[in-house]
Symmetry: D2
């Protein structure tokens, strides 16, 4: 166990309709256990999906570690937010239809599908308008219920499935449902127009996808900011018009120069740490929109009087809607955007995948193929 | 001079087309001087207005004192923002047309008009869409150029004038262009729907007008919050469904109870001080909109991680557009809203008016009649 | 049977969990039959509702007659749109929870609820954003599946239920889900602002509710148009600022005069017949919005060149969203709007109710109490 | 004169500050006269522009012919719309600053600028929000006042000027202010999302630019429709995913097949003739948006009942806003869109330019260089 590979425990051995292996978080920070458990039987509108690809996401590390750093040095526990262990993580899921509940429809066995995981209770104002990702009482797959680090996953309704084309890379498709979706939600929140100067802070996976998307659907002038020149090179290839290495040059001075002293019309901050947002607030044009996405945490000392006098708008952005996901699938299918998968893992390599991600050893996006 | 009444200085005595008296800030914090100066002659699209009513606004006190408290205990100087003295304050102006520039049109001598004072340079993105109040380089009347504490005021274009009905109270009309306009801009920024719980923080003149407006055009459920029971009584009369005295009870607990533990969908904070906004942030529903309006100032320690996870939106709101003002005039004309004037002053009482306002001795809105 | 009262037929006599009486359309244009059939058993997320009130709507007459007059004198058959007989009509339904499917939640037995009937398949772009009323493949209750002219009705998911307060009149609440909802959807489509002149054509039940709603949430100036002075009197009481009897005076001339020769900014036409819309098109201001709601039918000869040069927008409006319905319930609960029920019927009076409605003998809204 | 070249008449020969040559419509349908007249002197905020490029637009032909065919075979006279002759046409104007009025600012002599010609009176609701192109009382340059077929043109305010980069082709820039602007306004009106199927009807200059723009800023799937295979080839190069030759195949059948029998989500019709719009209405998906742009004219027999039941939205689109134009300049400067000029003329070739355009002999856009 100490070798970092997940342990395999057989917890049920009786005659079942269907058994499945799942890589589960049983004890925080310890290796995930590959358990063989009974696959759930879909009832009503539910659908059982045979998982082909499950993306490995930074928030899976938070689940694994049981929380993350909040403001004032507080550690925010996942269990305080309603997460229960043991848990099978994995919210970026693509696969094929295995079994349809008796009220499920619109899909057939073996259809290739992507799963929308940001599911809500269905009764709050956000759910009523299709923004289940912002539900008062979320039930996201791989966070509040068992997810895709598993041979099978249960989806509560056929309505959360999106058909994907035979021609599409299924691993790449999986990454649309969180990585690309979060980038897209953020780009939409920034409400960009051509001639806007938008600064994308953080040219990691999400930032790069945001640059692709901003280029594809807004016409805005994109400035990428990061502390890594290699990432900034990629950012330029993806559509950034210019770049700023905030380690090598003063970000505030740089942006003011790039914008004729006007300041940025919008910032999308995929880091969202005290340091980055403090800088953001210094290079804003009047009326600027600041979209905060990253989960790094920390505090911002916000000057209250600057809010009305400068007419700023700060908004948090959290994943995206099912409707957004369908738009992404359409864009990816037509090669307008190009999600990339850099590493592939087997189910019993789940711990390794999370460790590599934590250590910054995954350049693009890692995917588990159970 | 030490008696608090403005001094009168005759600075021009030659034969002019038109002389006018103006109450001007010559030295910061000292009595305003009533100067007799030459009235400007309107050229091009400019219009000279004979002032009937000039509202007395809290921001006139900032101009008089030369600035206001910013974050970190800093005093923000008006001169650093481009204000130049001597200055005739007064941005809430109603009167009649005196002289039209040769390119001015659509109005005739003696027409009763309201002046839209939040004028921009005309070339920035905000100006292009009629949001001159958010211009990069504002030229607001009574702030950057001489205003309405005067017998006459020059308006740079006939386009900034709004006709008012013979039947309307001209003093009350004047207060629409800042007091009511700021309240209206804030209500619009909150984007309220019926069934939303909105908390209006601060039941002074602006807060009460916001309650009238939210009732008139949104259908939302309004909760008024203040520390003064008398104001809260008025708030109820104006349309608040319920009220919270945040001095007598814990505002967070109170709002959570009033909203079935869900939290507020929106807050409009007309105080915008550290203390009020800190409380605001504790009683928000996921997806809540916080509209910051007041100029009290101070800092907020904002938890950055709460922004994406809770999907909050904080926005500053600054006055309103010319289009908003026309809507207000229509609402007031039809008695859907009822702006109120509580105190009337003569031009040589300008210092007295500002002093009374500063000392909290003006219950509603004071107006100078030059 | 020839006496106009519905016939009662016992079609099942075996031992069942639950039998229920339903007034059904078995043969077009003949009396509805009160059949005693087995109540459906809710599975999955489904819920069985014990019906207290079922509103009687004009579109029920279309179902009864098997279609309606389309353009070119064509009769549009309901069966061509996918309606199947025998059918239990009734889409305005309020009642109490009887039985919850095993995946239904958020409600308890005997909860008083309103049913949202405009249900979609769940997979089209409209459904994804909560606009199921505009689904590509609608499954509306009382139209495509059995509805509320019955002791019980099956609702496909708990998500389509809206709790109603103990204090609310349950008959009046029922009428919110089509009559008021259609009026509300239309008002929202008109996108009214204060100072807009909006003409509401047709001061029947929907038009009057639209006037109430436009007054409550828009601040626009409302002009009611009808051919019946009594209805116009009521329209004034409900919030119309002025009225036009288009039988007694030329509607075009009247509107041009009432709008200072500018024309109307918006029209909401609850008749939507050739004659009314032809008149509408003559009294529009440039940029006007025309919202077409009624199902009267006929053709409009539309001048194509007037569309770009005058920048008109014509839009059809069909019922409303679940989110809209929740807003209506909130407005009704707080008495901001006041839905009215004029006639009450028993289940075996269904034919009588439809006949009276068809003959114009129901002034407000009729409701069946099974 | 019968040779087609404009006549030159010297109408003033006295000592003037500045004389200029203008190609003017003096008699309808006859050759334009090149008159030498006194250049206007800019007052107030006015600016005199030395014209470098003036685009030749189809609507100039309407001005030349005195009107166009309306519905019911009526000829709609330009004089009935307020046009007065003699008139110097030309509304697509780029050039350099010659003289600034005493209140004009933000620009210097010789600055390269593009003129926004769709100017309004400034007092209507459209003007107030920066939509002067939709003004109640338009004063468009080259239509209601003298335009750019001239050595100099007077612009009523510096606010209508947009700086253009030294690097930009000034002839191509000129075409942004009507041809590209109308395309852009139409694309914005269609409110496209990725995954929408949009049909662009008419692959002429405007249609092709709309395709470029829809590709650049919406991510929608574009279907180009025309009767000319060569134009459809170009449409594919510009970004159309697929094309339909409506002369060779049934457009309704073709679109239904290309959209999996769903129908188009949006249509932008740059022809806007009875025949094209009748076809459009047959291949619409429920909720479809139809944007009518062309000035071909004729009538549509619109089935009124289809409007609410199918929830269609028809809107006319007329040019675009100043804000839109600035966005276009930014897109063109960065080569996101590529406006093309195919023919260049001298001032005394104005009649030839209009004749060639009328006869379909100008493939892209013609520009006059006075």
């Amino acid at each position: 166990m100490g070798d970092g590979s997940p342990s395999t425990v057989f917890i049920s051995n009786n005659i079942l309709d269907l058994d499945m292996k799942s890589a589960r978080i049983v004890k925080l920070k310890e290796s995930l256990e590959v358990q063989e458990i009974e696959a759930p039987k879909p009832k009503g509108a539910q659908v059982l999906i045979k998982v082909h690809s499950a993306g490995v996401c930074h928030s899976d590390i938070h689940l694994w570690e049981g929380g993350y750093e909040g403001p004032h040095g507080l550690f925010l526990k996942t269990t305080d937010r309603g997460v229960k262990y043991p848990l099978t993580p994995g919210h970026e899921i693509a696969g094929t239809i295995d079994t349809l509940g008796e009220q499920a429809e619109g899909f057939s066995k073996n259809d290739k599908v992507l799963v929308y995981p940001w599911i809500g209770e269905g009764l709050c104002p956000a759910c009523r308008i299709g923004e289940e990702n912002l539900c008062d009482k979320p039930r996201s797959i791989g966070i509040y219920v068992d997810g895709g680090y598993s041979e099978y996953v249960l989806v509560p309704s056929y309505k959360y499935l999106v058909k994907i084309d035979e021609g599409m890379d299924i691993d790449a498709a999986a990454t649309l449902s969180c990585s690309a979706l979060t980038a897209y939600g953020a780009v939409k929140n920034a409400n960009l127009k051509p001639d806007d100067n938008v600064v994308v802070v953080g040219a990691g996976g999400l930032g790069l996808m945001a640059i692709q998307l901003a280029k594809a659907v807004t016409g805005a002038r994109i400035i990428a900011m990061d502390i890594d020149d290699k990432k900034l090179e990629v950012a330029k290839d993806e559509g950034a018009e210019t770049t700023v290495n905030s380690k090598k040059e003063d970000p505030v001075k740089a942006i003011m120069e790039l914008t004729d002293k006007l300041g940025a019309d919008a910032v999308i901050d995929f880091v969202n740490a005290s340091k980055t947002v403090e800088a953001d607030m210094q290079f804003l044009r009047r009326r600027a929109k600041v979209v905060l996405v990253g989960l790094f945490g920390g505090e911002l000392k916000l000057s209250l009087i600057s809010m009305p006098t400068r007419a700023y708008r700060l908004s948090g952005s959290y994943t995206g809607t099912l409707s957004d996901l369908i738009e992404l699938v359409s864009l990816a299918k037509r090669r307008v955007i190009k999600p990339l998968v850099s590493n592939r893992f087997k189910l019993n390599q789940a711990t390794e995948a999370l460790t590599m991600l934590k250590e910054g050893k995954i350049a693009g996006r890692g995917v588990i193929n159970p």
